[in-house]
């Protein structure tokens, strides 16, 4: 007797290798399914990692190497009186005051201007200092109010070189500078200009103001203690910022988007898992008598399971390895073609460098192998449980139409999925939402045999005279589990595609409707420079209002406002909130404002991120003033994911003294010609301002908005298309395999007088019915999953809601495509199967 517990590896190798050599395409499809899933997941992860690393790098660059920083909570900055107060705090070795401004150079090149005290910065942030390279050697030039150092990216973007002059606009002020050197400590891709702090304050209207203090700590200083000591001395409008805060802030800005892409990629991997399951089940079903034979000849039950598992392991390992390589290539191509945010609009700046992530590679590779092993688990158990003597005669596992498909497990999974959708977000992420989708998917697929039989029962209620159709329906009805097997991959991919499509169509429709609501005016005028102090002044606004042809005019300004150090800035929008084009798309009727309260309207994302409700009171840290405001309503805003708060324009002016506005909305008088009004508006602008004016018609902005939406979802279309493609290949392979496995049955039918054409018609009918059932199931499941995306995943990830819209045309296209694909495959496979002579087919050994 053989050694106990050992596996006859040679026999196993023979069985596996011969199977793969005989049916390479089936194995190739399973490998491809896993490879694509792993590739998508890994590529998205690499792209996200590269983008975040680039973003963090950019933050570090602008921050220099400071140990600690104080930042202004809004672009208006804080009083420079804070600087001497901070310099004397125990534990601080040196403080470097900084003016940090967003600016535009000629050629509309965006750059960050840093005004530094050179002597302090040399100690605290030496990396930010410039290198004189214009051939002049007068050290006093460093302190000149017209000298600037530019980074390579800034010079490239503006088309200027060292020694040339450059015009820069920021905070409503324009000034000309001479480029006296470069910034060797700034890496490629970062557009930065450095000048003397006094020059920056004077030339850009920032006298007495700073945006930042950089600290070098004493060697023995306790950073945490010092942070809290400094925080207690800070006025409103300034806050302590650590690198960790900055990284968390940049991470939270795009985290939900990245997690959603990761989840989509994992769904693709899940689809791959179902295809492997389907491929393995079919393979096991087809080889059941062969497995029975080697069981009779002496292969132990667990060795058989091990063989099937080994097959799945090899498929998973090869697929995972191929997927990792493919993912690396995909990531490189996507970074090159779509940018680091895959069109999402979260990151800007230089082209990120793709770096290999070994940890992620191991994780995604392991997921691929796990998907394959799970896919092989059930078929392996089934094969090992069957009785060899019966299986040898094809009796033990013969189709028994009397057996009713079970639905209890499917219902349990669906109920668990529904319950999961009610759970809250975990750490700001819709983990339970995705778990709920996965459970619904599993439940839906487990329900397939029952659904197939239930749908086919409609046809069985009355006799069908057509032989082919009757045979097709009888077979599918009698063997619903086989139908379900053929469909599991396609139902998984179709339902995911439908869920995403319904969500995207609903989102797109809601954005389109929103764009009409928020852009009711005829024309929109914007100045390039939107910083505090920039824009149309009060006199200009008045002049513009009285231009001939203008019926109504509203003004607006957006400034970043930091409500929490570890969260992205919200946009404070000062705008005209009354008048014909001043309304906001409120989600519920606005509240009556208590007397003496200042009303603000908070956007849906801001309300979600900060837990704000209508009727709440907030304290806004605006430019050194800290008004207590009343939340009069929540409004829908798809334009600013990090959140926004609207305040009445006049109130903002009263609170800040800043009456300038950078955007004007114009309602034209009836019959007024837009071009003539634009020309007249330009004419009333002060000299130089008109050069920075851009004019858009509302239709243009809406089109651009929708184009931006489509661009940001381009990658999701790709992520949807790939599982669908794999699913269709899967259904083709499955139908083909099932057809070829029935050669003996076809031979028998032909022996008893069924025409070849009738058999082909029967197969087409079976395929078409399978396609229709798969389409109906996929769409039903997809609709249910779309509601989780719309009502759970989106609100928990992005804090915005949308109205469901149904893409009926897409549904019809999907069903027709599936019917054609499945029917066509059955026709192709059937013709191949029927090419075998009837007599030979009946005499087939297996």
């Amino acid at each position: 007797m053989g050694e106990r517990g050992s596996l006859p590896l040679v026999a196993m190798r023979w069985m596996i290798v011969s199977e793969w050599r005989t049916y390479p395409s089936r194995i190739a499809i399973a490998v491809l399914a896993i490879a694509l899933g792993v590739a998508l997941g890994f590529a998205v992860h690499l792209i996200n990692g590269s983008a975040l690393s680039e973003f963090d790098h950019a933050i570090q660059t602008v921050s220099g190497d400071a140990d600690l920083q104080v930042h202004a909570t809004s672009a208006a900055g804080f009083s420079e009186a804070l600087y001497p107060q901070m310099a004397h705090v125990s534990g601080i070795a040196k403080v470097s005051p900084v003016v940090e401004l967003h600016a535009q150079a000629q050629g509309h090149a965006a750059l960050t201007i840093l005004g530094l005290d050179v002597l302090s910065a040399a100690v605290v942030t030496p990396r930010l200092l410039g290198r004189r390279s214009d051939g002049q050697h007068d050290p006093s030039d460093f302190f000149s109010d017209s000298a600037i150092f530019l980074s390579a990216a800034a010079m490239q973007a503006s088309g200027r070189r060292v020694g040339q002059s450059i015009d820069i606009t920021s905070m409503g002020h324009s000034a000309s500078f001479r480029i006296i050197g470069d910034l060797p400590g700034i890496p490629a891709g970062q557009a930065i200009g450095v000048m003397d702090i006094a020059a920056a304050q004077w030339r850009f209207g920032q006298l007495g103001k700073l945006q930042r203090l950089d600290f070098r700590l004493a060697p023995d200083a306790d950073r945490a203690q010092l942070s809290s000591a400094l925080a207690s001395r800070l006025p409103l409008g300034a806050e302590i910022v650590t690198r960790h805060n900055e990284e968390t802030r940049s991470d939270s800005l795009s985290r939900a988007y990245r997690v959603n892409l990761d989840m989509l990629a994992l769904m693709a991997l899940l689809t791959g898992g179902f295809l492997v399951y389907s491929a393995q089940s079919l393979s096991v079903a087809r080889r059941r008598p062969q497995f029975a034979l080697i069981r009779v000849l002496g292969l132990e039950r667990r060795s058989l399971v091990a063989q099937i598992f080994l097959e799945a392991l090899v498929v998973g390992a090869v697929g995972a390895l191929g997927g990792l390589l493919l993912g690396l290539g995909l990531a490189a191509a996507a970074l090159h073609l779509l940018g680091s945010d895959l069109g999402g609009g979260y990151f800007s700046g230089g082209v990120p460098h793709l770096s290999f992530a070994p940890g992620a590679a191991i994780a995604f590779g392991a997921l691929g192998v796990a998907a394959s092993l799970v896919g092989g688990l059930l078929p392996a158990r089934d094969a090992a449980r069957s009785q060899p003597a019966l299986a040898l005669k094809n009796l033990g596992d013969a189709i028994d139409p009397r057996v009713h498909p079970r639905i209890r497990l499917a219902l349990l999974l669906v109920v668990l999925g529904a319950a999961g959708s009610l759970a809250p977000a975990v750490n700001g992420l819709p983990i339970f939402g995705y778990a709920s989708m996965a459970l619904l998917l599993a439940g839906g697929i487990a329900m397939m045999p029952w659904l197939a039989r239930t749908l086919l029962w409609i046809f069985l209620r009355r006799p069908i005279s057509n032989v082919s159709l009757s045979l097709a329906i009888q077979r599918l009805w009698g063997a619903p589990s086989q139908a379900a097997l053929a469909l599991s991959g396609i139902v998984a991919s179709t339902s995911l595609m439908i869920a995403m499509a319904v969500m995207v169509v609903s989102f797109r429709g809601s954005v389109e409707a929103w764009l009409y609501q928020v852009l009711p005016a005829d024309l929109y005028l914007a100045l390039d420079d939107s910083g505090v102090g920039g824009g149309f002044d009060a006199v200009t606004q008045n002049n513009m209002r009285h231009v001939e042809g203008v019926a109504w005019m509203g003004f607006m300004k957006e400034t970043p406002l930091r409500l929490a150090p570890d969260k992205p800035d919200v946009w404070l929008i000062a705008r005209t909130v009354d008048g014909p084009a001043g309304g906001l798309p409120l989600l519920s009727p606005g509240l009556a404002v208590p007397p003496n309260d200042i009303p603000v309207w908070v956007s849906e994302p801001a309300a979600g991120i900060y837990g704000i409700h209508p009727g709440d009171h907030l304290v806004l840290p605006i430019a050194g003033v800290t008004p207590r405001v009343f939340v009069a309503g929540i409004w829908r805003d798809y334009g600013r994911q990090q959140g926004s708060i609207v305040i009445d324009s006049d109130t903002y002016t009263r609170l800040t003294g800043d009456a300038r506005r950078s955007i004007a909305s114009v309602a034209l008088k009836k019959g007024a010609l837009a071009d003539a009004v634009i020309a007249r508006l330009r004419a009333v602008l002060p000299a130089g301002v008109a050069d920075h004016l851009s004019v858009s018609r509302s239709q243009e902005i809406r089109s651009k908005g929708i184009a931006a939406f489509d661009r940001s979802f381009a990658i999701t279309y790709l992520l949807e298309a790939i599982p669908i493609l794999v699913g269709l290949i899967g259904v083709a392979a499955t139908v083909s395999a099932q057809t070829l496995a029935r050669i003996k049955e076809f031979g028998m039918l032909r022996h008893i007088g069924v025409l070849r054409l009738q058999i082909v018609a029967m197969l087409i009918a079976e395929g078409a019915l399978l396609g229709a059932i798969g389409g109906i199931a996929g769409i039903g499941l997809g609709l249910a999953m779309s509601q989780i995306l719309i009502r759970v995943v989106n609100p928990q990830s992005f804090h915005w809601t949308m109205d469901t819209r149904i893409p009926w045309l897409l549904f019809i296209i999907v069903i027709v495509a599936l019917i054609v694909a499945a029917g066509g495959t059955a026709l192709f496979a059937g013709r191949r199967a029927l090419s075998t002579a009837a007599v030979t087919a009946v005499r087939e050994d297996w």
């Binding site: 011969s18 080697i294 000849l297 002496g298 009785q387 050994d845």
Partner: protein, 220 residues
């Protein structure tokens, strides 16, 4: 030696196939079992191979009682001591002839090269020398059954269980295959239990037994 004592088997519906069935097959003895269709000949063979469990009674092969063995132990017993020949040839279509014949040896963990060399020798012995690289679909029914016989004998089992081995063959081919089968098992010194409908096949046996509901009845 095979000893069957007081064996009873009923099918799931409750119908008793046989009861109090007794049988002894000595080493090297060739026993043929005949009987009507549905009487339970194949079921008896499955019980002798440990592929099915009896309701009562005992099957002992070379001193080992099958009813006391677990599934894996039964599997190892089949692998080492029993050879099978079926009516349907059950030759694996993906393996060439040499690999098909060598399969029981590699299941016993015999070195693959040695197994294939022995299989090549076995193919010579059954008249299919030089065709080890051919695939089953290139063979006729008679040739396929010869492959099945070679596979049943290659690991030199003490007991061969054969279920209608010529049932799928024409009389002429059946006679040739049966002659080959007898030659091979005699040469190997194996005991044989042959289940058949065919009087011609049964005629080559040392003993012919007729299976009825009450057990085995000696014939002639």
């Amino acid at each position: 030696m095979l000893t069957v004592t007081s064996l009873r088997k009923a099918v799931p519906g409750g119908r008793v196939l046989f009861q109090d069935l007794n049988l002894t097959v000595r080493n090297g003895q060739f026993v043929a079992i005949t009987g009507e269709s549905g009487v339970g000949k194949s079921t008896l063979l499955n019980l002798l191979a440990g592929l099915d469990r009896a309701d009562a009674g005992s099957v002992v092969i070379d001193g080992t009682a099958l009813e006391l063995l677990q599934d894996d132990e039964l599997t190892r017993l089949r692998r080492d001591r029993i050879g099978f020949v079926f009516q349907a040839f059950h030759v694996l279509p993906h393996l060439d002839l040499a690999h098909n014949v060598a399969l029981p040896l590699v299941l016993q963990k015999v070195d693959a090269h040695e197994a294939l060399a022995r299989a090549t020798g076995m193919l010579e012995a059954i008249g299919l020398g030089g065709r080890g690289a051919d695939y089953p679909r290139q063979l006729s029914g008679g040739e396929l059954q010869r492959i099945a016989i070679a596979r049943a004998l290659i690991h030199r089992p003490g007991l061969i269980l054969a279920d209608e081995p010529t049932g799928n063959l024409d009389p002429e081919t059946a006679a040739k295959v049966m002659a080959l089968f007898v030659d091979q098992v005699r040469e190997a010194g194996a005991s044989v239990v042959l289940v058949t409908h065919s009087p011609a096949s049964a005629a080559v046996a040392d003993r012919v037994l007729h299976l009825t509901r009450d057990g085995l009845v000696e014939h002639g």
